[in-house]
C-alpha cells in the first residue's frame, strides 16, 4: 500500500517538472510582456522593473532560478500585484474555488448518481431514456451557456436566487454550484448507469433475489457498492477538473476564486502567476487521481487484500 503510494508520488515529479518547463517557455513565446501596458512606460523604469523581476537575465538562467525557488515551495512574486506573492494569491483564491468545487461535485454525485441508478433499474425503457437524454444534454451544454440561462430564469425572471457574489447573500452559492456541477453530473449519470447495469446482471444479485429481499434492498445493499466503483474512480479527475475549469463559472457569477486569477494572469502576462497556478493545479490533479484510485481499490475487498500484503 505505502509502496504503491510512494511509487505514484515519485512518478508525479517528472510529470510536474515537464508541465512547469513547457508552461515556462510557452508563456515567454507569447508576444508581449508583463510591463507592456497601454500606458507608455519610460525605458529606464521598465528596465528597472525587469531587473527587479530577473527578466533581464538570459532565459535559461531565469528558468534555473525559478526551478530553484519552486523546489523550496516559493512560487515567486506576482508581476501584476506588486508586493504580493503568488503563494498568497493562491491561498486567497483557493478556499473559494475549493468550496465551489465541492458543492459542484456534491450536486454532480447526488443528481448524477440518482439518475444513473434509476436509469439502470429499467434499461431501455422510458425510465432509462429520459434521465440519460438529460445527461447527454448536460454533457453537450457548456457552462457559459447553462450559467446565463439559469441566471436569467432563476435570478432575473423568477427572482428566486441571487445572480452573483459568493457568501454575501444566502443562496448565492446554489446557481454556480449547479452550473459547474451539471457537466460532471451528466458523466456520473452515465458511469453509474453502466456500473449498476453490470453489477445488477451479476449472479450474486440473483442470489439476493432468491433470498427474498425486496428490490430496493438488493439495489442498495448488493448493487451500489460494486456499481459505484467507477464513479469513485472518476471523482478524483473530476475534482481536479472542477478546480481547473471553474473560471467560466467564477466569471459569470462574479466569484473571487482561483479561476479568475488564472485567466487574468494569462491576459496580463503575469508569468509567475500563470506558472504558479499551473504547478499548483497539476499537483492537485495528480494527488486527486491518486486519492480516488486508492479509494476505488479500497472498495474492492480483493484489491484491498493485495494492498495489505505489499
Amino acid at each position: 500500500m505505502w509502496r504503491f503510494i510512494g511509487i505514484r508520488l515519485l512518478q508525479a515529479i517528472p510529470v510536474i517538472i515537464a508541465v512547469v518547463t513547457v508552461t515556462f517557455f510557452l508563456v515567454r513565446v507569447a508576444p508581449g510582456g508583463p510591463f507592456d501596458g497601454e500606458k507608455a512606460v519610460m525605458p529606464e523604469v521598465k528596465a528597472a522593473l525587469e531587473a527587479q523581476y530577473r527578466l533581464d537575465q538570459p532565459m535559461l538562467q531565469q528558468y534555473a532560478a525559478y526551478m530553484g525557488d519552486l523546489a523550496r515551495g516559493d512560487l515567486g512574486p506576482s508581476f501584476k500585484y506588486p508586493g504580493r506573492s503568488v503563494n498568497e494569491l493562491i491561498a486567497a483564491g483557493l478556499p473559494v474555488t475549493a468550496e465551489l468545487g465541492l458543492y459542484a461535485l456534491l450536486v454532480a454525485v447526488i443528481i448524477g448518481g440518482l439518475a444513473g441508478v434509476i436509469a439502470s433499474l429499467k434499461p431501455n425503457t422510458a425510465q432509462d431514456y429520459i434521465p440519460m437524454s438529460a445527461a447527454m444534454i448536460g454533457i453537450c451544454m457548456p457552462s457559459f451557456l447553462l450559467g446565463p440561462i439559469l441566471l436569467l430564469v432563476f435570478g432575473i425572471y423568477l427572482e428566486w436566487l441571487p445572480v452573483s457574489g459568493w457568501g454575501d447573500i444566502p443562496g448565492d452559492k446554489i446557481l454556480p454550484a449547479i452550473t459547474l456541477g451539471s457537466t460532471y453530473a451528466a458523466y456520473i449519470a452515465r458511469l453509474s448507469r453502466a456500473g449498476m447495469l453490470e453489477v445488477l446482471n451479476q449472479d450474486y444479485i440473483r442470489t439476493a433475489r432468491a433470498k427474498g429481499l425486496p428490490e430496493w434492498q438488493i439495489v442498495v445493499k448488493h448493487g451500489l457498492r460494486g456499481g459505484m466503483i467507477p464513479v469513485v474512480a472518476f471523482l478524483g479527475p473530476a475534482f481536479a477538473g472542477v478546480l481547473a475549469g471553474s473560471f467560466v463559472v467564477e466569471t459569470i457569477f462574479q466569484i473571487p476564486g482561483l479561476g479568475r486569477f488564472y485567466v487574468q494572469a494569462a491576459f496580463n502576462r503575469d508569468y509567475t502567476m500563470i506558472l504558479g497556478t499551473t504547478v499548483f493545479l497539476s499537483t492537485l490533479i495528480v494527488l486527486f487521481n491518486l486519492l480516488s484510485d486508492i479509494l476505488a481499490a479500497w472498495m474492492n475487498p480483493r484489491l484491498r487484500a493485495q494492498f495489505g500484503k505489499r
Binding site: Q202, G212, L213, G226
Partner: protein
C-alpha cells in the same frame, strides 16, 4: 409437497419468441431428492426459476400453469407474497459459487441476511445460527472466517457457504441448480454427500437440476428428464437407469462415458520425451510451481491421458510442450528435436507438426473470422496448400470433422458449442500435425455432444495417425479414449499406468481418492 401442472414459459424478444418450457407437469415429494435432467436449453432451470418469480419478465412470460406448494399456487402469488416464500420456505443453491456470492460483502453478513430479513432476529442471534450452520456444512473454524470475503474461500468452501445460506431459514424445499458443475471432481463428491446428508437430517425436499445423469445416479430418488422444454420421462431412479422408455433418455444414458478403450501395450518408439520439466510462474516466495519436475514419454500413435483437478498443472504441461508458455527447466524432445531451445524458424516448422485443441470453443475461435478464414489461415501460413487449392482443402477438412459444406462462410457465433469444437478440431488438423494436445476438449459440451466429439476425435486420430495428449479432469472420459494415463497432483505425477490397470488397481492414495469421487461410479463397466 410441490405439484406443478401444465407450466408453460416463453421468451419474447425482438429476435422472436421461444417456448422455453412447454406444458410441463411434475411433482416433488417432501423428504426426497428429485433430479431434473436435461441438456442446455432444455428448460430445466427456467421451469424451476419461474416457480419463484426469478425469470425476468419481460422478456419471459409465464403463459399457463399452476404450482401448488403446500396448498398455495406459487404462480398466482404477487411479487410481495412470493418474496415471503423465497429464501424462507423455498431456497436456492446456484451453479457457480465464484460468481453467486457478493464479492463486496463478508460471508457472515451474507449468511445472516436472509435470517434477519425473514425472521427479524437480532444480529447476535443470527450470528450464532450462522456459525452453527457453517460448522454443520463443514466450514472449518467458522468463528475466524465469519468476517472473510468470498475470494478468501476455495470453490468448494464457497459452495458450502451457499448451501448454509440456503438452509439458514430451515426451508422445506431446496432447489439446487447444477450445484457441483463448477467444482473439481473430489469436491463434487463431497458436496453431493453433504447435500444427501443434510436432506436426511433436516427432512427437506431437494430439486437437483443437472445436465449430467451420472452426477445424480447415486443420490436421486426420482428423476425427471426434460428435452426442448418438455418432460419426456419421469420415474424413480432405478426405473430411469434400468428401463428407460423414452428414446431421449436412452440416448442420454448411452452418452455417459462408461466403457474403456481396448488397447494392447504399445511397443512403438517415443515421439515425445519429457525430462524433468519444470514450469514455474512468479519469483521469490510468490513462485507457483505449476509443473514441478515431471518426466514422461508419449509413444508414436498413442493417446496419453493426463488427469488432474484444477490447479494440478495439467494445462500448463500441455502448453509447455508446445512452448505456448516457456518451460523453466528440463527438456522436451520431439522426434529428436529439443523444443525448449529452438529458435524461431525451426519452431514455426515444429508448430505445424504439433497442434492444440482448447477447452472453450466459444473463446478460442476468433469471432471475426469465418470458418473458411479460420481453416485457411494455418493452411496458407505453413504452405500446406497454395491459394488455388485452399478452398478444396478446407472442404475436405470440413467433411472430415463433420461440418456441412455450406457453412464455410459463417461466423463462430452462428454455431452451437459442439459445431464450434468441430471447427477447432478442423483448425488443429489443418496442418496435418503428428501430435495434438487436446486440453479438456469436451468439458464445455453437453453429454450427448461430448460423446459425438469424443467419437470424432478417436476416428480422426486413427485416420490421421495422430499421437495425442488428452488432458481432462474427468476420469470416465479419459478412460474411454486413453491408452495410458498420468495422474497429476500439485504439479507432480503421482501415478502412471495403463488405462485399465489404473481403474482396477490404483496404487497412489490420491488416485484412489479421485476414483472414489467419480460420480455414478456404479455405471462404469468392469469396475468393482
Amino acid at each position: 409437497m410441490l405439484q406443478v401442472e401444465n407450466l408453460s414459459v416463453s421468451f419474447h424478444t425482438r429476435m422472436g419468441s421461444t417456448q422455453a418450457v412447454d406444458n410441463v407437469s411434475f411433482g416433488v415429494e417432501s423428504g426426497k431428492i428429485t433430479a431434473i435432467i436435461g441438456e442446455s436449453g432444455s428448460g430445466k432451470s427456467v421451469a424451476c426459476y419461474s416457480l419463484l418469480g426469478l425469470v425476468p419478465c419481460p422478456p419471459g412470460r409465464i403463459d399457463s400453469g399452476t404450482a401448488l406448494f403446500e396448498g398455495t399456487d406459487l404462480l398466482a402469488l404477487s411479487e410481495h407474497e412470493l418474496r415471503a416464500i423465497r429464501g424462507r420456505d423455498i431456497a436456492m443453491v446456484f451453479q457457480d459459487p465464484m460468481t453467486c456470492l457478493n464479492p463486496y460483502m463478508t460471508i457472515g453478513k451474507q449468511l445472516m441476511e436472509p435470517l434477519m430479513y425473514h425472521q427479524g432476529v437480532s444480529t447476535a442471534q443470527a450470528r450464532t445460527r450462522a456459525l452453527e450452520l457453517m460448522q454443520e456444512v463443514g466450514i472449518r473454524d467458522p468463528e475466524s472466517t465469519f468476517d472473510n470475503f468470498p475470494h478468501q474461500f476455495s470453490g468448494g468452501m464457497r459452495q458450502r457457504v451457499m448451501i448454509a445460506m440456503a438452509l439458514i431459514n430451515q426451508p422445506k424445499l431446496l432447489i439446487a441448480d447444477e450445484p457441483t458443475t463448477a467444482l473439481d471432481v473430489t469436491i463434487q463428491a463431497q458436496i453431493l454427500q453433504l447435500l444427501a446428508d443434510l436432506q436426511t437430517r433436516h427432512d427437506i425436499g431437494i430439486i437437483f437440476i443437472s445436465h449430467d445423469l451420472s452426477v445424480v445416479a447415486d443420490i436421486a430418488d426420482d428423476i425427471i428428464v426434460m428435452e426442448k422444454g418438455r418432460v419426456v420421462e419421469s420415474g424413480n431412479r432405478d426405473a430411469i437407469f434400468e428401463t428407460p422408455s423414452h428414446p431421449y433418455t436412452q440416448k442420454l444414458l448411452a452418452a455417459i462415458p462408461t466403457g474403456h478403450k481396448d488397447s494392447a501395450a504399445s511397443t512403438a518408439d517415443p515421439l515425445l520425451r519429457v525430462n524433468n520439466l519444470c514450469t514455474w510462474f512468479g519469483e521469490g516466495d510468490k513462485t507457483v510451481k505449476a509443473v514441478d519436475d515431471v518426466s514422461f514419454n508419449i509413444l508414436h500413435g498413442e493417446v496419453l491421458g493426463l488427469v488432474g483437478e484444477s490447479g494440478s498443472g495439467k494445462s500448463t504441461i500441455g502448453r509447455s510442450l508446445l512452448r505456448l508458455v516457456p518451460a523453466t527447466s528440463g527438456t522436451i524432445t520431439f522426434d529428436d528435436i529439443e523444443v525448449t531451445q529452438l529458435s524461431a524458424r525451426p519452431m514455426k516448422d515444429l508448430r505445424r507438426r504439433m497442434q492444440i485443441i482448447f477447452q472453450d470453443p466459444f473463446a478460442s475461435l476468433n469471432p471475426r473470422m469465418t470458418v473458411h478464414d479460420t481453416l485457411a489461415e494455418p493452411l496458407l501460413l505453413h504452405g500446406i496448400v497454395n491459394r488455388k487449392n485452399v478452398s478444396q482443402a478446407i472442404l475436405k477438412l470440413m467433411d472430415d470433422v463433420g461440418l456441412a459444406r455450406d457453412v464455410a462462410r459463417k461466423y463462430p457465433h452462428e454455431f452451437s458449442g459442439g459445431q464450434r469444437q468441430r471447427i477447432a478440431i478442423g483448425r488443429a488438423l489443418a496442418t496435418r500435425p503428428e501430435f495434438v494436445v487436446a486440453d479438456e476438449p469436451v468439458s464445455a459440451l453437453d453429454v450427448t455432444i461430448q460423446a459425438q466429439i469424443l467419437q470424432l476425435m478417436l476416428e480422426l486420430g486413427k485416420e490421421y495417425g495422430l499421437t495425442m495428449l488428452f488432458i481432462s479432469h474427468d476420469l470416465a472420459v479419459v478412460r474411454e479414449v486413453a491408452d495410458r494415463i498420468l495422474v497429476l497432483y500439485q504439479g507432480k505425477i503421482v501415478e502412471e499406468a495403463r488405462s485399465e490397470a489404473l481403474f482396477t488397481d490404483a496404487k497412489d492414495a490420491y488416485t484412489q481418492r479421485l476414483l472414489q469421487a467419480i460420480p455414478g461410479r456404479s455405471l462404469l463397466t468392469g469396475i468393482s
